[in-house]
């Protein structure tokens, strides 16, 4: 054995970075930075949901914000009513998942083309936006929770230790909870993409016709993948809502949906680490730009998207990764890809 295989090296690096980030950052970073990073954790989870369904399933969903928002709203409404967070947490993920499966069933079993798919998922998101925006009236309440229209739902109870509502998460605890959620999603997806299901999904992305000719029911695979992506987005939404103790219909607006796509494209489609970095980098950028008044933030994000699509079409992570691999191989740190014997592990094409 000369050096590590690419996959093992990547896995090791990811594990080390995860642990370091969760242990070291709270020791050194001031409170307001921790809060900010917690927000980016929830965005990164959302980015992974699109990275999975689009980058590996080949399904361009313009509607991950819908599942994100639905998760957030479900958590808000239920936790306000129930006090304890355990059931709301579970339902806030199950409900959007079921909704995603249903929507996926209609789209994939109806054999809609990818353009219609993008349009439908976006329209669904915007319908949520419109609908929840019009729930300001007093009649729009579910139990004790007032939907509040564009004013949103304030004072959402935080996550608590199951069975003990007096032990609830402070904002600094949310850093760990959201961080661990992100790590679980990341490694969960890596595992999924190396499983038979994930590898088949990648095959379907490459050639749907061939997958069917081999006997795979493409509709079913896509529907399940869409459901999984919905579940991940919903988890991100729950974390976001907890971070904010507040949710309003903005989570469903066009800007939100567009942002997710920018995170994924800039970081690198068909990778998992890229969209996470994209969510962080563009989140920080938006925050920095937000403090000044001269240029519109959305304008700059749009410009970045165009520049990346034109000049770094693969996204930053795959491009940098290719350079690193080339360097590492030429120095003998990595086993050359040509004589690696564990090829099947690498099919996630992930970094």
């Amino acid at each position: 054995m000369r050096g590590l295989s690419l996959n093992t090296a990547g896995l090791l690096a990811a594990a080390i970075i995860s642990v370091l980030a969760l242990v070291v950052i709270p020791q050194v970073a001031p409170f307001y930075i921790l809060l900010q990073i917690t927000l980016y954790f929830s965005f990164a989870i959302l980015a992974l949901s699109l990275a999975f369904i689009w980058g590996f399933g080949g399904v361009f969903s313009f509607g991950q914000a819908a599942f994100f928002g639905l998760g957030g709203y479900t958590y808000a409404i239920l936790s306000i009513n129930m006090g304890s967070s355990t059931v709301p947490l579970i339902v806030a993920i199950v409900l959007p998942t079921v909704f995603a499966l249903l929507l996926g069933y209609l789209m994939f079993y109806g054999r809609l083309s990818s353009v219609y798919l993008a349009v439908i998922t976006l329209v669904v998101t915007l319908i949520f936006h419109k609908f929840l925006g019009h729930t300001a009236g007093f009649e729009y309440r579910i139990g004790n929770a007032h939907l509040g229209g564009y004013n949103g739902i304030p004072a959402i109870p935080p996550i608590n230790v199951p069975g003990d509502v007096t032990k609830f998460a402070f904002p600094e605890d949310m850093f760990y909870i959201a961080g661990v959620a992100l790590v679980i999603v990341y490694f969960g997806l890596r595992w999924l993409l190396s499983s038979h299901f994930g590898r088949t999904l990648i095959g379907i992305r490459e050639n749907e016709e061939r997958a069917e000719l081999l006997g795979y029911d493409v509709r079913l695979y896509k529907m399940i993948a869409f459901g999984i992506a919905g579940a991940i987005a919903a988890l991100g939404g729950v974390m976001f809502t907890n971070w904010n103790s507040f949710i309003d219909p903005h989570v469903f607006d066009l800007g939100m949906s567009a942002q997710i796509i920018i995170w994924v494209v800039v970081g690198g489609l068909s990778t998992l680490i890229g969209p996470i970095i994209g969510a962080f980098a563009l989140g920080i950028l938006a925050l920095e730009l937000g403090t000044q008044q001269t240029i519109d933030v959305n304008l700059i994000l749009g410009a970045i998207l165009i520049i990346v699509v034109l000049f770094v079409p693969e996204g930053f992570v795959p491009t940098i990764k290719r350079m690193c691999i080339w360097l590492a191989e030429s120095r003998g740190w990595l086993r050359s890809r040509l004589d690696s014997s564990d090829l099947e592990e690498k099919q996630g094409r992930d970094g």
Partner: protein
């Protein structure tokens, strides 16, 4: 349904694309173990006929039977499950992933985790893909992509194999290798092979079906078909109305 001795049978199979009748009232049958060649000029409807069999195209009318079972309305993946494999005219492969992963995805569909790896290795050996097993399929030459596709189909040990122009774009040696492979496959499976190369057809086939304008023009032994003036005419484009 009365039992027949046919492995595959079509009755009145028709496929229209708007005003074009690509396959016109075709009654075709194949007995188990047979290796049949399908020939005909460009646009005769050979590929469309294949795609109706696999339900990549929905037939406009007519019926398809496989082992006396009506499969006309089954989905593509269900037909694959019954043991019909196809190599399409334009290779249909997973371009962005390596050869070995292509074969593995095919093998894993019908084999457990352990035996899928073994079947993958066997097929790579059998088709002779050892040297390129780690290459991305998208970067391979046309001939190699065809072999990858044939290899994928072989993993499921299909009962019936449909090969649409398996030697297109191949060198002389590659064509010979493919001919040997097809002969070998025919020992354990039935095949229908679409080909243009008459030498090749002579080398592998016994019975030949000639398609013309969506219909079966002639069906006979290979020598008889090659001697048939009608067939010569349509290939040379001298047909009268």
């Amino acid at each position: 349904m009365a039992d027949t001795n046919f492995l595959l049978e079509t009755r009145g199979l028709t496929k229209r694309f708007g005003g074009v009748i690509a396959v016109n009232d075709v009654n075709f049958n194949l007995i188990p173990g047979e290796l049949r060649c399908l020939i005909g000029p460009n646009g005769a409807g050979k590929s469309t006929f294949f795609k109706c069999l696999t339900h990549q195209h929905k037939p406009s009318s007519g019926k398809i039977f496989f082992k006396d079972r009506d499969i006309t309305r089954l989905h593509t993946h269900q037909i694959a499950h019954l043991g019909i494999g196809i190599k399409t005219q334009v290779p249909s492969v997973f371009d962005g992933i390596p050869v070995r992963e292509n074969i593995w995805l095919a093998a894993r569909r019908y084999h457990g985790r352990g035996s899928a790896n073994k079947v993958t290795a066997d097929v790579i050996d059998r088709v002779g893909l050892g040297n390129i097993r780690d290459s991305m399929v998208g970067r391979l030459a046309h001939g190699e992509r065809q072999w990858v596709e044939i290899g994928m189909v072989l993993t499921s040990d299909p009962t019936l194999l449909l090969l649409d122009e398996p030697t297109a774009g191949m060198t002389h040696e590659e064509t010979e290798k493919t001919a040997r492979l097809i002969k070998e496959i025919s020992e354990s499976a039935s095949l229908i092979v679409v080909e243009h190369d008459m030498q090749f057809i002579k080398a592998i086939a016994n019975k030949v079906t000639v398609f013309h304008q969506g219909s079966i023009l002639v069906e006979d032994k290979v020598e008889a078909v090659m001697a048939n003036p009608l067939v010569r005419d349509i290939y040379l484009g001298k047909e009268k109305d």
